[in-house]
Amino acid sequence: MLKKLIVASVFSLGLFTIPATSISAFASPQIFENMSGSWRGKGLVKSGPKAKNESIRCKLRSKQDGTSKLKMSGNCAVSGFIFSLNGYIQQNGGKNAYSASMFRSLANLKQSNFSGKRSGSKINFSFKARDRISKQNIVAKINLNSRSAKTFIVDISRTDPKSGKVFKVGTINFAKR
């Protein structure tokens, strides 16, 4: 149980950027409008390259605050743990550059700054964070594929602190409620 939190913390580094990333990459008044509402996420994730998959579910509610900001609240659950998704995504000066603060509430994320850019219909997002347990700097990558205003899929990959290699954490499918 105790070490499970370690697993969960690893998940959190990758997982809880997903909705934010997707939104920030699209960030424009229209995209923010599309992203407003209630979302449910469901998928499989894992903590290391050779670890088993874990089931994950998320509930996310987002609401537009002005034209360039989206406030978000909700939780994700992995096994016996719950993580808050409360925070916001903001477009910086109308450029293809975004920032978010929501992950500060996640206990396991030391570094909360992250940024993302859009490329076509896919969004490639990355951030640097400090792993809470290993104290190493790690990189997480998010690929968001937004097929419609009602669904989006998030693929997550991240650096394995042990090997330093990138592995696929998992995929979460979000659907509007």
Binding site: M1, K3, L5, L44, G48, S55, N75, S79, G80
Partner: protein, 744 residues
């Protein structure tokens, strides 16, 4: 004549100053209406048991050092077959739904179980994230039970149900929020209900919410029904709408004042004080009838209705006052139990009964005064036609010595039952008979180890590190002691995780625990890390003897390992299995105190110790005969019965007072035996009527959604019927015997 401590003069003052008195009554009633709008309800049951004992102190320590386990609900999913892909995935979905609910802090279920998968895989859920076949599900559940024995307390051996413990947030389960929270969680659960799946919620928050629901339902149903019953009965007796209104008015006012007073003073209605509204209506109605009948009788002779009113107050008022004082004394005797809940019931009940007396002695005369002024003339009641009921009692007066001997023998048998009858407190007795919560509690108790845990608090040696072998050894030894008494798989502790961490070459120490969120560690270790918890799934519905046996066995197992000074056993089952039965024993003592207190009050008000003593056996008989009946048919004493006996005694003694009052009035003009016979003739119809009225009114309480309320009503009715018999057969025999002694 009985001396009513001058309280009846309030009625005389009122009808001599009718306008002022009416205005005061109206103002009080208006304030009560405001108070009713502020009335609150409470499902709290721990505070009711609070009695300053060591068991409560240990329980408080548990809640302050670890977490408030009273906020933990248990979700039960019954399903055709959990060991299928569909079954297990439904349960997984249910888990996530609850886990992600904003009112929930965390959950414990088969999906939160973890095991170590080696250096490469690390820590993983004990169950796979997805399944491909039913065989795979069955195999994984079997493996889980083998790897983590405590998981067996989370799904049934035949795979037809599973449970999860839902740790709700403290704010969500406060009294004002608990019903809304449980309604929300229940709605969430219902979304999963299909033909083959049934999800229900049990545990403390669910019980509390259900109690509040039942209390409100009872108040909205029983009080109006009791009032309606009294009103209809008054109409049958007097066949006059105005008479019906006059007789119903004091009951209506007294319940309004009581509820309004509770609302204004912020006193919540709980599952104990819930008995008061309906009870108050019938008690007040009985006294109202005595006064009304007297007024009707006197005015029939005199013709002057206002003057008759004064005379009726002077003749019956003192008896009404004394009967209210004795009922108040009986209720106040509950305060002697040293228990918070009963103290509140005693005080609230005493104030309510006194308010009821004011309503009888002031509101009825005022109503009668204004009605008379408007030309109302009371008709003769049909109650006068049932004088024949006194005939058997009159005949038995000739065999008074035999009657007294028979009464004494019965009294001896009853006293024996009083000392040996068993006690039991089950919270589910206070839930509605159709309550899903109650049914789920029963199911979980029979299929699992129960919803309500016991806790072994292990004190660590604070001079040593948490992972020092001496401290570790103490925890493991405690677990061994638990294994001696409780089945394998019925408990869990920090040691389960320590064992898994050791496999990874790690260890649990203070630093690791500090890194974890408190909502997780609070289930296992105190914040200052001076105490470690072993949680044992148990039931809150065990009898006193069952619980005592388990605790004694646990003490023996701890003593064998020299751990008694380091380990405390606590939890709600200790409160319900040990504290509550002790409370009931105290109640029985306070009942005897009430008996003797009432005898003293009767002796004081009649100015005769002999008359007081004459009332002793006739008033003890109804109570101990009820205990004898319960003992004979094997029903253990519970809190409702103990309270019912005390309250019923307070009401039953009223019959003796009215009989004694009439006897003393008759004695002014007659010899002793004719005075006794005259009192029997005069009072028996009124006693019979009021017993029927009280019993009829209380029968309505048998329709309560709370089984405990129905038990309460049955016990009070039995006591009242026996009190009626004792007062027309036993009391006259004693009064007659005393005369013989005087003649000698």
């Amino acid at each position: 004549m009985i001396n009513g401590f001058g309280l009846h003069k309030l009625g005389l003052i009122a009808i001599r100053n009718p306008v002022i008195a009416t205005i005061i009554m109206a103002m009080i009633s208006f304030a009560a209406i405001v108070g009713i709008s502020k009335l609150e309800f409470s499902g709290e049951n721990i505070e009711i048991l609070r009695d300053g004992s060591q068991e409560l102190a240990d329980y408080d320590e548990l809640l302050s050092q670890f977490r408030n386990f009273n906020n933990d609900a248990v979700v039960l999913m019954r399903i055709k077959n959990l060991a299928t892909v569909e079954g297990i995935e439904t349960f997984r979905d249910l888990n996530f739904e609850f886990q992600l609910d904003e009112r929930v802090e965390s959950i414990l279920s088969i999906f939160s179980m973890v095991k170590y998968g080696g250096p490469d895989q690390g820590w993983q859920s004990a169950l796979p994230a997805e399944y491909n076949s039913d065989e795979e599900v069955l195999a994984s559940l079997k493996q889980l039970a083998e790897d983590i024995p405590s998981s067996q307390s989370l799904f049934s051996p035949n795979y037809d149900s599973a449970v999860m413990v839902v740790y709700t947030k403290a704010e969500a389960t406060k009294d004002k929020n608990v019903q809304e929270t449980m309604d929300g969680l229940t709605a969430l659960a219902k979304e999963f209900n299909t033909e083959t799946v049934n999800v229900t919620i049990a545990g403390q928050p669910a019980i509390r919410a259900d109690l509040i629901h039942s209390i409100v339902a009872d108040l909205l149903f029983l009080a109006p029904m009791a009032f309606l019953f009294c009103a209809v009965l008054a109409f049958i007796l007097f066949r006059q709408p105005v008479a019906m209104f006059l007789c119903a008015l004091p009951s209506l006012l007294s319940i309004g004042w009581f509820l309004g007073g509770a609302g204004l003073t912020g006193t919540s209605l709980n599952f104990l004080t819930n008995i008061l509204p309906a009870l108050l209506i019938v008690i007040v109605f009985a006294d109202t009838l005595h006064l009304y009948l007297k007024w009707q009788k006197i005015s029939e002779k005199q013709g002057d209705y206002i003057a008759s009113l004064e005379q009726a107050i002077r003749e019956i008022g003192p008896a009404c006052a004394l009967s209210s004082v004795t009922t108040t004394a009986a209720l106040l005797s509950l305060c002697l139990s040293g228990n918070n809940g009963l103290f509140e019931l005693g005080i609230a009940g005493a104030i309510a009964v006194f308010g009821g007396f004011i309503a009888v002695i002031v509101a009825l005369p005022l109503g009668a005064y204004w009605a008379s002024k408007l030309g109302f003339k009371p008709k003769k009641s049909i109650a006068s036609k049932i004088g024949i009921i006194a005939a058997p009692a009159m005949k038995l007066l000739n065999y008074r010595k035999a009657v007294i001997v028979a009464g004494l023998l019965l009294c001896a048998a009853g006293l024996y039952a009083h000392t040996v009858i068993d006690s039991r407190f089950r919270l589910i007795d206070y839930l509605g008979s159709q309550s899903e919560v109650g049914q789920s509690e029963n199911y979980i108790d029979s299929t699992y180890y129960g919803t309500t845990p016991l806790f072994a608090i292990v004190n660590m040696d604070q001079d040593l590190a948490l992972d020092d072998p001496a401290n570790e050894g103490r925890v493991y030894e405690t677990i061994e002691a638990v294994k001696d008494v409780f089945p394998a798989g019925s408990f869990y502790s920090l040691a389960d995780f320590a064992d898994e961490i050791k496999k990874a070459g790690g260890k649990i120490d203070e630093k690791l625990i500090d890194e974890l969120p408190r909502f997780l560690t609070s289930r296992f270790i105190s914040e200052d890390k001076s105490q470690v918890l072993v949680t044992i799934f148990s039931s809150a519905n065990l009898s006193e003897s069952e619980m005592q046996e388990r605790l004694a066995n646990m003490d023996t197992a701890l003593e064998k390992r020299d751990l008694l000074q380091h380990v405390k056993i606590t939890g709600y089952p200790v409160l319900s299995g040990v504290v509550a039965p002790r409370l009931m024993d105290n109640l029985r003592i306070s009942l005897l105190v009430a008996v003797f207190l009432s005898i003293i009050l009767i002796a004081l008000s009649s100015g005769s110790l002999k008359l007081g003593l004459a009332c002793l056996v006739p008033n003890m008989l109804p109570i101990i005969c009820v205990e004898l009946i319960l003992y004979s048919i094997g029903i253990p004493l519970n809190m409702s019965i103990a309270v019912a006996l005390t309250v019923a005694f307070g009401i039953a003694v009223d019959d003796s007072i009215h009989m004694l009052n009439q006897y003393m009035l008759n004695k002014r003009d007659h010899d002793n035996l004719p005075a006794v016979a005259g009192a029997l003739r005069e009072v028996t119809p009124a006693l019979f009527s009021t017993t029927l009225i009280l019993s009829g009114g209380l029968i309505i309480m048998c329709f309560s959604t709370l089984p405990a309320m129905a038990v309460f009503a049955v016990v009070v009715i039995m006591t009242l019927l026996l009190a009626f018999l004792a007062d027309i057969f036993q009391l006259p025999a004693y009064l007659a015997i005393m005369n013989e002694e005087k003649a000698e």
